[in-house]
Amino acid sequence: MRLWREIRFRFRALFCKRALEAEMAEEISEHLARLTDAGLAAGLSPKEARLAALKQFGGVEQIKETARDQRGVAAVEHIVADFGYGLRQLRKAPGFAVIAILTVAIGIGATTAIFSVVNAVVLRPLAYPYPGQLVTLAAAGPPDFLLRRVTPAVYFELRRSARRFQSFTAWENSFANVTGLAYAQRRLVRSVTPNYLAMHGVSPLLGRGFQPGDTAPGAHGVAILGYEFWLTQFGAQAGAVGRTLEVNGQPCTVIGVMPRGFPIGSAVDRRQRELAERIQKHQRFHEAVPTPDEGEDRKRRQCRPGGGQNHVPEDSPPSAPFHARGFLQFHRDVAEKLAQQEHAERARRRRENQRQRRVDEPPLQDPVHRHQHCLLILRHKAVTKPKRDLPPALPAAHTPPTRPGPALRHNSAKNSCGVS
């Protein structure tokens, strides 16, 4: 009640100011008139009576001002007045006004741009659990050089020697011809090492993830579908798991589907894709090869076999241009050599120091095949809205995948193909 009254008064003070002022003026002038009349009755001249009345009443303007201040809307009134004054000043000096407005506009624009970057890079976490524990390793190179790939040789070497990381995974984006569906399609394909999903802490929505056995020599190629691809190409049917696609002519069994929102193509990936398209157009890639640091480079040189038609000559600088496509084949023999060495080295170490050696990886079978049987995630470019009856995405990207959402459980119960 009290609050309501206060609101009503302030509202009136703001929007019915003229009426209030008129009432106040009327009351005060009436009072003054009566005082003057009293003075006249006491025998003063009209002028004297008026002066005496004003004296007895007090300063009219001060009193009005006090009453105005009491209304509690002085701050608002002052702001409105200041705003009007500012506008008038701007109109008086149009040149200054233009410069001031431009300054503010550019300032806001720059701040927004910087914040967008900070938001994307720093504030918005990656869509995986424990994003703070993930790091990307790339070979040194110019800052805008986005294909800063680590060669298979370096990858194996890193995995062997770097003890600060729990696990390593490698991936590569490329375009591939996907057949075996209604029509042939060109798709973005990410080739990954088997531990890719495990390392990111994500499990598939349907089917199973990659397993070390998938890279066994002679094993069938396997693929996990991106959610959008599954939606558009398979109508979100669980029967997609187990189907066989051909990726660049090689048969590939679908073993699972990733949850919605699992980022297969990030902003960086998009740029990489553009770059890859450019490379495909020109067929040759003239950028410098990523320069590994001194130690790695020396190791690489040491394990480089002498022969091989695709080899960079021993004396050529590490920045010699290379053919971007067929990159993995290019280094296959290097990788083979390295892996053999690694195999031998690990066997020796295991023998020597079996207690200290932590067996955290399955024994290497054939590292060359590991790469030949690149594991695939297919992704559709266009993001399609899911239909109502489709299983929704996993609750949130941050949710650890060990707790599958209700939709996932529902789905797996309904369909015969089990979730691993």
Partner: protein, 108 residues
Amino acid sequence: MPKTELLQGTLDMLILRVLSAGSQHGWGIAQRIAVLSQDALRVEEGSLYPCLYRMEQKGWIDSEWGQSENNRRAKFYTLTKAGRKQLESERENWAVLCTAIGQVMGPP
């Protein structure tokens, strides 16, 4: 007769007291205060008005335009329930204050 300056904050109480006898307009309130105090208080009569507006905003008094005794338009102020309560509490406070000050000053 020399007039005494009004104590700070007592004007509200005086107005409430005057209005407790019935509704009154600004001029009438000033006259009543002068009569009741036997002209001993010096009140700048204008300062009544901000005081009245403030009390109205607080809900102690209500106002209404009406016809004054000399057939002129005037704003009449009436005590509300909240105003009556306020008058009581101020009266009590005043009594306590008077007693306390009287005790401190002692007999002349």
